[in-house]
Amino acid sequence: MFKILVVEDDIEMNRTVCSFLNQNGYEASGCLNGEEAYDALYSNMFDLIVSDIMMPGVDGFEFARNVRELNEDIPILFMTARDDIASKQRGFRIGVDDYMVKPIDLDELFLRIGALLRRAKIASSRKLEIGNFVMDADEHTTYLGDEEIPMTNREFSILYKLLSYPKKTFTRTQLMDEFWDADTETAPRAVDVYMTKLRAKLAACDTFEIVTVHGLGYKAVLK
């Protein structure tokens, strides 16, 4: 069972979030301030941290920065009333993985925590498995059952990205920015060519498919 640390100074908010997470199959513990949270982290292992920003004493930014110094991988999700872009930027720069603005939707929180944990697992094992389809990021190999599917580096990276965030649509530009050189002259439509190639190579795979979203972008959908 995944263990989640909830750092939030409002007692009711803390209690409801913890109860909700406990109801939904996680083991959540609540702390009302940064100091308490440091103590909890010291004596327990957690898989994920949900933290407020505006707290008395140690604020969320400082807390997240200190946690990041000690642990590079633990997913941190900010849950805060501050919706200005400056706070978001500051949070992400410190190394926060996700950001939700209060009042939060608990169902959405649940979904996001699931996604964060899945990505953390992919990131730590460097391996992606969907049924009999396996991608190994260290060896850059792709297997469908026992058969290896040959892929270029770029094809591999694009597919790995799409499958790490199933159901999330990426625009062509987002993929371009990540997998092509910054000074490239290629038009975003070049992404389409790669998608056609990938689909051809994955024709035999029936555990997921690459879907075109109304000319806006692409996503991987698990079946």
């Binding site: 919706d83 872009i85 009042p103 939707d105 649509t169 625009t171 062509r172 530009t173 987002q174 038009a187 975003p188 979203v213 109304h214 000319g215 806006l216 972008g217």
Partner: protein, 357 residues
Amino acid sequence: MRKSNLTHRILRGIYGYLLFFLLVAFLVTCTTTLFLHILSENLHIEYTAQNIGTAAKLTFANVIVLSILYTLIDAIRRRFTTQRMTRHITEAAKRIVKGDFDVRIAPVSEFGMDEKFNEIIDCFNKMAEELQSVETLRTDFIANVSHEMKTPLAVMQNYGTLLQASNLTDEKRMEYAKGVIDNSRRMAELMTNVLKLNRLENQQIYPQVTEFDLGEQLCECLLQFENIWEKSGIDIESDIDMGVKVKADQELLSLVWNNLFSNAFKFTEADGKVCVMLTTTKHHAIVTIKDTGCGISPEIGPHIFEKFYQGDTSHSTQGNGLGLALVKRVVDIMQGEISVESTVGQGTTFSVKIRRV
């Protein structure tokens, strides 16, 4: 207060009288001296001290009487012209100070009156009108905000009370709990919008202008609604030119698209269609968002960008009437243009025009 007012008036009377006295005395002295001088030269009359003395006394008395007469006439003239008007204006101003914005001053039409008074009266009436409309807006705003806030609160309270009952079926319990959640969500949305609009209107957010790809922004904003169109089965058509750059505040501009998309999806039926187009002219980028929803009637059309204005006056459907006010405000800040075309029953098209790089 009244006593000092009285002394003030007496002093002003004396001052006026002295002024007229000096004026009349000066005139009379000059003319009499001139007259007597010419008379004595032409008729060779010698004045004796005695007849000069008598004439001087009479003339002096005459000067005093004339001065009093002029002072009185002047006071009466003032009373009927300047003083009456200033009193009118002062009284009206005092009523405005007390918060009564209904007051208006009738312009003077009598001839001989000072034209300047009509100018003042015109300005005054305009000021009163403006203040009145601002006041109406303010009270409407407060009434709307409190209505919009109290309704979901009341509903939540009711559901809370319902939930306290002991023998609820699971189905009912879920229904009531959902009511609490939906209404708190509605209220949260309202709060967010009121705060955003307030910040925009007080200009506390200064646009952080950067150059970015507008087409990409539209794609990303539109993709946030992917869940909604998948769930509702609304068809999407996009014709977005790539590589169209604009210089603007990215976060502010995304407010525009999010609100317009959200409206388009809100008012479009399941079998409908939402089209997003990005086209360009030489200096401008034009974003067109078209839906096949219920449309906006011609009576409602002119008001859609007003705060808290909602097509249906019962406030019953979702939304809080602030979305388009926000959109308009942002487009204004960006010095862009927004226009709407709509046919009832067929759909609505919003076009936003902003300068491109």
